[in-house]
């Protein structure tokens, strides 16, 4: 062995890992070679130092602490999620981009100073504290709006939301863990209660706004192959991430590059081969403090609103040992008994905690003189939770002494008040006019004037109010007048109002059976409607077709629900040569001529079928739909890269000739518009 080979054995020698013979050889060499001896001494000295270093660090355990820190959001460094995404996009491809996003998600993303505007408080915030959200469900015209305030831990502390279009009409809701207020604006009702059901919804919205939380789910999906992710530049300072799952459902996440915060989420689902907009969510006003007054509704209530307090009192009738059916029946029986006893306070309590004065006003006009029958209760299966309708027969007496029989069918459900879920409350259907109707119409201060109107006068007064956009006045004839209708009718011109007729005279026998009112024929000119037609060429036939109508603000109004590819026509090339604008014009031409086959070349079967049905229904009602067709003007077409489609501006000027349905079976004895608009 030479010196170098002996030196290779130094470690083995010092650690007693050589055979006796090898060791002997080594030691003998060290005895004779001064160079190797010096080298060995230096080696053992260094070895001791290294052993000491190792011992010093022996108890160090940093792994978990470090991993914990890199999983929680850190203060923003110089990079943004997007700079990382883009860098890796070019460097490593899409999976790497997502990977980088994972790192960013785990470690970097948090709010940038710009999101707060107050640099010095950044460190106090790891989460969004204030947020404004708008959601646009696919078929809904007006957005639902939410304002959320969260605590330092990111838990929702207060929320307020406005829902313009619900089955209850417009609703405003405020929520804290202690108290929720629901203002049924269209129904003039106000409910105070405590509920835990709102918190998870608000929390979910809040978390959707935060890239580190929202992206986490997507990235996990990508890891397991359930979600495909891609990035693309969006308009202006927006970066777009497109996530598609195996069912073809697509989410487009737009991120503001300046703040790294999610600005919108757009959800699409597949119908056949078509992508259909499911919902759009817009996030704004990140950490812009919300006026505390926003979370208080009670101060803003008009005087005539009926307040039901389920928070500060136990409402309803206790179930005890009764079955659900028995409890429902007993609740209704006690309610009418209270009315018979003129105990309006008790009646109000059974009616979900409504105020005594409201009940006195509503039920004090005529009195219940005898309960003829209550029940049996009928299970309602169309509600999310168990509930019953309880048909009743009551003997009533008007203030003039006239007796009649009312047949209301109150709806009864266990309490929404989570503190008293075993108490059953009446939820409506207690109208006590002749025949019953289940609707509540407030008695106006000058009720007599309106009660004296004929159906024709009512229709004219209603349309006149609409033409002046006097919605308070119009609301007296139609309590459920929502914003959509206001936009549709506001500024109309009356052409004619005819003589009313009973339901049995309705052309074609189309009136609902037993409708307790009358119909007023009318003709009006509707205000000019502006809208957009969405046109797409991304189909097998490679020609432009319409996929839906959108309003001026590009919110979806009508989805044409394509269920398959457009047919490749025999003269497909001629149609494929048409511009989006020409296609929209041709569509309206075909529609106005009721040429269904031609119309089908530009739109879905679903749209054609719907239009056909409307035309047939109008014809049966004695209306010439050709005359009713709006005059359409087609404007410019704009390409939307986000939607990969053209939006063609359109206007419609139309007259409407129809029959307004009015009914008077309410406690205020006024004719009310019930349909036919």
């Amino acid at each position: 062995m030479n010196c170098a080979e002996y030196r290779d054995n130094f470690v083995a020698l010092s650690e007693e890992l050589l055979s006796a013979e090898e060791k002997q050889q080594c030691l003998a060499h060290l005895q004779t070679c001064a160079g190797c001896r010096a080298e060995y001494e230096a080696f053992t000295s260094l070895q001791k130092r290294l052993v000491a270093r190792g011992q010093m660090a022996a108890r160090t355990g940093l792994v978990e602490a470090v991993m914990r820190r890199i999983r929680i959001p850190q203060k923003p460094e110089n990079e943004t999620i997007m700079s990382i995404l883009m860098k890796h996009r070019w460097g490593f491809g899409l999976s790497a981009a997502a990977g980088a996003a994972a790192i960013a998600v785990a470690a970097i993303i948090t709010l940038s100073p710009r999101a707060f505007g107050v640099d010095q408080v950044i460190e106090a915030y790891d989460h969004v504290r204030f947020l404004h959200v708008k959601t646009f469900p696919g078929s809904q015209k007006l957005p639902n709006e939410f304002w959320i305030k969260a605590d330092e831990q990111g838990h929702v502390e207060k929320a307020r939301y406005d829902l313009p279009q619900t089955e209850d009409g417009e609703k405003l809701i405020t929520w804290t863990p202690e108290k929720a207020e629901i203002w049924f604006k269209s129904k003039h009702g106000f409910l105070i209660l405590q509920t835990r059901r709102i918190a998870p919804m608000m929390q979910s919205l809040l978390e959707q706004s935060q890239p580190q939380l929202f992206m986490k789910g997507l990235l996990e999906g990508q890891k397991t192959g359930k979600v495909g992710l891609s990035t693309q530049a969006g308009p202006g300072d927006t970066q777009v991430i497109v996530a598609t799952n195996r069912d073809g459902e697509k989410t487009i996440i737009s991120i503001d590059k300046k703040t790294d915060l999610i600005s919108s989420l757009v959800f699409y689902h597949l119908e056949g081969t078509n992508e259909v907009l499911s919902k759009r969510t817009e996030f704004s006003d990140y950490n812009v403090p919300i006026d505390p007054k926003m979370f208080e509704l009670q101060d803003q209530l008009p005087a005539d609103v009926s307040v039901a307090d389920q928070l500060n009192q136990v409402t309803g009738v206790a179930q005890g040992n009764l079955t659900d059916e028995q409890a429902a029946t007993e609740t209704v029986r006690q309610f009418f008994q209270a009315l018979m006893d003129k105990d309006y306070k008790r009646a109000g309590l059974i009616y979900g905690g409504e105020q005594e004065k409201h009940f006195k006003k509503q039920f004090g006009v005529s009195s219940v003189t005898r309960i003829i029958s209550v029940g049996p209760a009928v299970l309602q299966t169309n509600w999310g939770k168990r509930g019953y309708r309880v048909p009743c027969k009551l003997e009533m007496m008007e203030s003039g002494g006239h007796k009649f029989v009312a047949e209301p069918g109150p709806y009864v459900r266990p309490g929404d008040d989570e503190a008293h879920p075993d108490h059953w409350n009446i939820r409506g259907g207690v109208s006590l006019g002749p025949g019953g109707g289940g609707r509540t119409v407030n008695t106006l201060p000058d009720n007599a004037k309106y009660a004296a109107m004929s159906p024709e006068q009512t229709a004219r007064a209603f349309f006149e109010a609409c033409s002046r956009k006097d919605w308070d006045e119009a609301g007296k004839f139609m309590p459920y007048l929502n914003d959509q209708l206001k936009e549709y009718l506001g500024g109309l011109k009356i052409i004619s109002v005819g003589e009313s007729f009973p339901p049995e005279d309705y052309p074609g026998g189309l009136a609902p059976r037993g409708f307790p009112g009358r119909y007023v024929p009318y003709e009006i000119q509707l205000p000019v409607q502006e809208f957009n037609a969405r046109v797409s060429r991304q189909n097998a036939a490679k020609r432009c077709v319409l996929t839906g109508f959108y309003d001026r603000k590009l919110q979806l109004q009508q989805d044409f629900k394509w269920t398959g590819e457009p047919e490749v026509l025999t003269n497909n090339d001629a149609y494929a040569a048409l511009s989006p604008k020409e296609v929209v014009r041709a569509y309206f031409d075909a529609q106005s001529k009721l040429d269904w086959n031609e119309m089908l070349k530009f739109t879905s079967k679903n749209d054609v079928d719907t239009t056909k049905e409307e035309a047939a229904s109008a014809e049966k009602s004695g209306v010439d739909i050709r005359k009713m067709m709006p005059v359409f003007e087609v404007g410019e077409a704009t390409w939307s890269p986000e939607q990969s489609a053209w939006f063609v501006k359109c206007t419609a000027t139309s007259t409407k000739k129809w029959n307004l349905a009015v009914r008077k079976d309410n406690s205020a004895s006024r004719w009310q518009v019930d349909g036919g608009i």
């Binding site: 030196r7 130094f10 470690v11 890992l17 190792g54 010093m56 022996a58 160090t60 470090v66 990977g99």
Partner: protein, 193 residues
Amino acid sequence: MNSSERDVGPDRTDRDYVESSRNGCPEHFRLLVQRYQKPVFAYLASRMGNPLEAEEAAQESFVRAFLSLKTLRKPESFYAWLLGIAGRVAREQFRSAVRHERDREAAEVMLAEADDDGKEYPLEEVIAALPETYRQVIVLRYYEGLSCQEVGARLGTPLGTVTKTLSRAYSLLRQELAARERAEQTFNQANQP
């Protein structure tokens, strides 16, 4: 062998873990922390003199390394780069202590202690400069405290190869340390009045 066992062993290079960490497996950064936590701590403890502060600084160094992993151009030089970050963290903490009047005394103590113990910290720097094969065995043998047999088992190499590699690593370390000492002496002489 299941996947977690496969991931834990140092049979993958620093480059592998750096790349997988920044390409979607941040959990792989854990393996880099496992690998270098002790040398980094030893290095900082020597520089800063206070084990508690050294531990904090070591944590901070790893977190910073993770956050700027994308800027690392040579993933195979991860450890050297990490020590560079650790050095900056140590300097920052020192400056920060000096800046605060009330901590001046502590800073002086820190300085004094650093003078006493500080001569050992170049060891980690020199280890960082070793080729990966040598660095790996030094770290496992002395900082992880594994026996030569255990190092062989971890790396899947025969015992004889481990001991030879370690011996050569020593030799390289020694040469490098000697070169540094010479350079330092020259520097000191040049700066004497």
